[in-house]
Symmetry: C4
Subunit: 506 residues, 4 copies
Amino acid sequence: MSGRTISGKEVAQHNSRESCWIIVHGKVYDVTEFLPDHPGGSKIILKYAGKDATAEYDPIHPPDAITTNLPPEKHLGPVDVGTVEKVEIVITDQEKARQERMNARPPLSEILNLHDFEAIAKLVMPEKAWAYYSSAADDEITNRENHAAYHRIWFRPRILRDVTNVDWSTTILGQKSRMPLYISATALGKLGHPDGELNLTRAAAKHGVIQMIPTLASCSFDELVDNAAPGQVQFLQLYVNKDREITKKIVQHAEERGIKGLFITVDAPQLGRREKDMRMKFEAEDPAEVTSNKQEDKVDRSQGAARAISSFIDPGLDWKDLPWFKSITKMPIILKGVQCWEDALIAYDQGLAGVVLSNHGGRQLDFARSGIEILVEVVAKLGELRGLKFPNEKFQLFVDGGVRRATDVIKAVALGATAVGVGRPFIYAFSAFGYEGVDRALEILNDEFEMNMRLIGARNLKEIVPEMVDAHNIHQHVVAVPGDRLYDNNYEDMQIARLRDIKSKL
Amino acid sequence: MSGRTISGKEVAQHNSRESCWIIVHGKVYDVTEFLPDHPGGSKIILKYAGKDATAEYDPIHPPDAITTNLPPEKHLGPVDVGTVEKVEIVITDQEKARQERMNARPPLSEILNLHDFEAIAKLVMPEKAWAYYSSAADDEITNRENHAAYHRIWFRPRILRDVTNVDWSTTILGQKSRMPLYISATALGKLGHPDGELNLTRAAAKHGVIQMIPTLASCSFDELVDNAAPGQVQFLQLYVNKDREITKKIVQHAEERGIKGLFITVDAPQLGRREKDMRMKFEAEDPAEVTSNKQEDKVDRSQGAARAISSFIDPGLDWKDLPWFKSITKMPIILKGVQCWEDALIAYDQGLAGVVLSNHGGRQLDFARSGIEILVEVVAKLGELRGLKFPNEKFQLFVDGGVRRATDVIKAVALGATAVGVGRPFIYAFSAFGYEGVDRALEILNDEFEMNMRLIGARNLKEIVPEMVDAHNIHQHVVAVPGDRLYDNNYEDMQIARLRDIKSKL
Amino acid sequence: MSGRTISGKEVAQHNSRESCWIIVHGKVYDVTEFLPDHPGGSKIILKYAGKDATAEYDPIHPPDAITTNLPPEKHLGPVDVGTVEKVEIVITDQEKARQERMNARPPLSEILNLHDFEAIAKLVMPEKAWAYYSSAADDEITNRENHAAYHRIWFRPRILRDVTNVDWSTTILGQKSRMPLYISATALGKLGHPDGELNLTRAAAKHGVIQMIPTLASCSFDELVDNAAPGQVQFLQLYVNKDREITKKIVQHAEERGIKGLFITVDAPQLGRREKDMRMKFEAEDPAEVTSNKQEDKVDRSQGAARAISSFIDPGLDWKDLPWFKSITKMPIILKGVQCWEDALIAYDQGLAGVVLSNHGGRQLDFARSGIEILVEVVAKLGELRGLKFPNEKFQLFVDGGVRRATDVIKAVALGATAVGVGRPFIYAFSAFGYEGVDRALEILNDEFEMNMRLIGARNLKEIVPEMVDAHNIHQHVVAVPGDRLYDNNYEDMQIARLRDIKSKL
Amino acid sequence: MSGRTISGKEVAQHNSRESCWIIVHGKVYDVTEFLPDHPGGSKIILKYAGKDATAEYDPIHPPDAITTNLPPEKHLGPVDVGTVEKVEIVITDQEKARQERMNARPPLSEILNLHDFEAIAKLVMPEKAWAYYSSAADDEITNRENHAAYHRIWFRPRILRDVTNVDWSTTILGQKSRMPLYISATALGKLGHPDGELNLTRAAAKHGVIQMIPTLASCSFDELVDNAAPGQVQFLQLYVNKDREITKKIVQHAEERGIKGLFITVDAPQLGRREKDMRMKFEAEDPAEVTSNKQEDKVDRSQGAARAISSFIDPGLDWKDLPWFKSITKMPIILKGVQCWEDALIAYDQGLAGVVLSNHGGRQLDFARSGIEILVEVVAKLGELRGLKFPNEKFQLFVDGGVRRATDVIKAVALGATAVGVGRPFIYAFSAFGYEGVDRALEILNDEFEMNMRLIGARNLKEIVPEMVDAHNIHQHVVAVPGDRLYDNNYEDMQIARLRDIKSKL
């Protein structure tokens, strides 16, 4: 970086796609080459080309985002602050309408379940944020299957057990947790709320649950650790960098800061195509800049937020790398994204601490099976081949994806999971209501656990046994024969009794 | 209770949430602390704070509700009647519209099936009552599965049997019943009709079926027994009180009054979260009182009617308590809410008279299986392990939940049930049409039984054998793979032939 | 019947529900007691109380309907024709609209499949007729299952067979048929078209298929036989009368007239409750006469057309009666309405000529299985127990219900049926287009047979073998787990690509 | 053909259905007898009766269509060009609207998947073309099942394999292909785009994939070969002519021109009834000419494009003909349209090069099973009976129908297919966007392959093994029990949380 101070006037000349400089926190950056890679699209940067972008930048980026993503030679140096023109932030009608909806949120006491947070978040979040969080791979079949799979598991509750006192606390990788559930890692939290992942840190502290810090958090890692309560347990989710030195630095720094578990993501050698997110980007672009139908249009602006922020991830990560990880940290190592018993077995045989049976919230490979379905297979096969019983202290199984109710968690525990990861519902909770939303979400889950432990007849998690669920339909992937539209059109529905004369109220 | 007479003027000063007195039947009660627990919400009480609430109270409470729910020290004594200001009852527009719909009900002769009562009741009942009766646990999956499960059972009828005379009467716990069906216990009948459960008592008498009296009836137990016809058989459903002396008193009083069977509810150590009911309460509240999104809002007004009225129920009830029950009564004891063969087996081995395979109408644990599905499992396992055949005089199996047609009942009988409990349809019948509604419901069932006994080729219940049904799909809990919305959007439906030029009538 | 001639003036005095006389073909009848039993409802008769009803009567009744249904003492004698007031027929707006729709029918060449007839018939038939034909038992599950079951059977076609010439003719009970399909018996044909079942007789003659004459035809039996072409084959469907002498007369008369097969209906000891038909009756009634909600309303007008016309059917019919039938006729005897292999086996062992596996078009017992499903069971069991192969000359299996395509018929033949009965589609064909409709329907079926025989690789029916279908899903009665409405509401559909700016054409 | 030159005036006199001459490329043709056979209906020809039809003819016919379809005696000779009246082409409002939609197409960069092409094509294609391409047999069940079947197959991805470099190229019948996918033969390409199948030839060249040239191409065979790039591989799809000499000429000419594989269609002894296509024809006809409902209407105009163009196809084609084919060509011979293992086995035993497991895109026999389902059966049986492993160099299995995503292709490869045929998506691609559309479609597929190979953990096609998919549900043809409409109508949906006061944005 050149040390010279740059005048606002000079910056102002670089205000086009051909040469685009911006000012953030009093420093000038040349982002011309970065434009096509920007997760939020190039249009939003171009709006600030030659100007001070700090006010727009701050709420949705970790402080070091620009310095770490831009090569040093693009850090042009400090700006002469007095010479910079003020940027006036215009609030669009769309944004105004969104803020009105924000003001019309119902009180938290009326939020009855985790679905409700999503319903409100969908209405009050910026559309870009909604598109990023809610989107998933291809036709989003796996995304929805994650939830649907739980509906193939039914309860066999026991009666006449004294359930005056019920306790659903547990131990995850040797750490206490008040529920068999942790807050899973999800990226870009500030898209939904200015405090980003800090909302999760605070609520996790209050409720005694564990937060898994994401590599792609909007808040910096240290910010999230600094804000933890004394004794609060945090895990780290790791995307492995092509440059292993960077990875080593991250891992060892995490261990020093007291992180208690390292979850290496193994289902994302490349981040998935998420078409909802991609379509949102087109809409964000200026129609005037949209290219014609010619093949010459070589800039691929269709990749959405996920792809752009993840180019550093190493698709070459291999089983052979695992000894190296063990050599650089003493934290328990867990593979996140295991999807068949064969890989779970290798993980066990290599002495890892556990696996997360997960398809990345349906955001990677469409038609990957749900974690809860894989759990059934893994428990059966590792029992058969290695004599293991689950839940198992030595080799812990986790699942994530599609969880919305305490009953979902109880099903997973009955089938052998140590705990369940929950991601999107908590993002929706803070996107709609900030910290209080996450707090309320955890409170609701506690209420549901208390109720359902009693109703299933289990006083603690050990009493939740496999016989309490019927999961024999779990592997059924049923697709109905396409309908006979002619027959159906002809069929006249049965009618219910109707009132005379006056209109029905419904 | 202090004996002193209180002036209307003094009462009138306690007209706020901070101090709330009301007058019922000439007595003054301090209900300040009871406000958050009131099943109908606090708002409705506050409307009568400092006033005479008798006119509002009477139609929906058993006479002794207030005296038994309020500790003696809150019974403040008689009011000086002359000094009390008259309360003018204002009829809301909503209520007026409801009464218009009431007047527009179709004649009973046009009610063709049990579904019709629900269709009318939904339109003519107070919304609060509809919410309370129709709601169920969590996502109401089990609630609907109860009905859906019957659709997985198909008939294998026999032909060329002389079915000139068909008879579907039976014996339940040694008592005659004209159908293999009893009226199951459901709470708060006066929410739907001023006569409450008395409607059931009367219709049961006329049709020779058995009524199970609920612990939480709106009418008092003695009222329901007093109104029984000579020789009319009644059972009692029992929620076991934390204070066993109260329970003992109830049971022994019931036996003295001639109750012929004691059904102990075992699936409700805590009453379920029923979100429709909970949402209704919010709407009933005054928006002005609705608290902000702050965590400080500690009053949990989200529990609906069910939770508030059931705090006395003992979650500590245990198999160990059963000998005590046998020691205090000679009535046959049946467990209501058994949900797997293991518990049915224990009940049999402990010498009980039977079990009701039930999930409490889907109002307790969501994803509990339907009674009819559990029946198949229980019959198979108790046959295998104890050599029992069903229906069985010594150990009777009952199911409830989801029954709407005589064919449903016939399926249950074919699979081994002695009789089937029906709850909501009768509530809807009297909520829409009072006693005549229940009478018509039973008449319809009789018509359906006559028809279907003939069509299946059975002259009496003994001739309804397992081979007459195909229930091999009963354990299939099928959840379709989520749809491919892009493909489906592109597909253009086949079109039926159309008329030329003019508009179709449909 | 008294021989005296009655004056129009005297008749005119009996114009009320209390005393209701009508004139038909110059004779006076006292129908007072018959009013509640009239299939078309009492209202339509009361319109002609004291008047000449001939013009209304003729198009929808067999000529002898009134004389055979009314006891002789109600036949009051001839009217003095000159003294009778003329009845003016008023055409309602509803009827006018219907006739306009009639005029807007598309040309027959545009009717492409059997569904199309139903689509048009639904629009151009009198609503009463549509209600009678289309209605079925209870919730009409079996009615629709009849069609749906065919969708669980898939083809395994063979290739590279010389299919230049394909032939789908066969022999049914020793009689030639140009298709493996017969026109099944259905009642009250004149409701849909003034020529009633004659439309079927004529088209059957032209196409060389067999018509089964119904007991409850609108045309008289002899009319249908008289109009047969030389050599045309007809069967008779028989409802057995409580008075066996009447039955004997019918059977022996049929044999004399050349009927080649006697199909005894065994699935209708009592005719089913068909609620659509019942609801239609209410609408046809005068609202002013509709009774209040009082239980005193004892007249049951809720039974629809089916029940009223069938009171003569003997619910006492028994296997013991079969030898008697064999003693009174040499026609082959087939049981229509067999629904399990056990009864098919008895029929075989008793030396009958065959059985129709049928649930009466879903109009009797709801949740009875489809004929095509029962076929699979019967073929398997009679093969196992008696070594039979199907199709079988000695003991022929037929199925009916739900057939709409030649592929449906081919599936049944592959699975062992000799032929398939088709009912409703032909009624809809003549209700919409008269004789030409039925002709076109049979032409379409021929086209479909030619095409599909070639495509499946079979030159004649013998080459249609069981291996050509995959029916292993036939016994699956799948009911989906009830949907998660909260999750589904939150899920945002994937969107297809859209045009810019302008409205789509769709 | 007579050599005399005909005057425009003489031609103009033959301007009716009774005598219809037209001019194409300066030659006069008598098409009177051809009218009812014209794929596009007679109306469009009659519009040019007695006139020059060249401008209308050119864009949708191969140059030699009229000369090969019309017998020589109908080729009347050259017209005296100067005497011919100019034909003015009128653009209808409908066509104008279509062209507006054409102009409103989104840029290709916004097309994210193969579904998108169909969505746009549906809006911008002439309706006749859409009807022809999109239609399928009978109720189009098989058509949709082709896609649905892929949804019953789920992935079991492997992790921690170095997937930095992934390669999805393969060898098909000894020819290189950059994807395990070829462009399947589809007829009448010029209906969708003036360049017809040439669009495919060009894009195939660019992307190194193989094009299968259809017998019924709109472009002539030589045109498609002439336009191939040097070294570009093409296959030929063959409908076998009743006149084997014609077939011989076609085959040997193809071999001479360098065609590398001969795909003989065996599932179309007669082309299917496609009702959407048939209905479209009616709408194209002049209502004034539509005949009445009389049976005399003998002209069958209801057969759509497919039937009319295919009368030459030999329904007598037989296994016995195969040696002859081998005697006339050295090209590898593949049967297209095999639908059960039995026929695949015969093909193998006869020494053919492979089979395409296909149901002709659902356009022939409805309820034929999907190719992907048949694949599972064929691989299992040929493994069992002949010890074969698949994919197999010596006997290659292909499937087509319903493919929309690279994941579909990967599933087929995992289950044993060498490659997959894709037809309609490419037609939609060029109908909407011409050559660039097909180019983009192949680019999208490449993107998806890269992504999904990585996510499944396979570096090349050999590493895609059967264990990577779970296809155990493939043979399940599930049809839901018909719904209970009364129950469903009564059920009140759960409600999500709502905003206060203001309208939601959705």
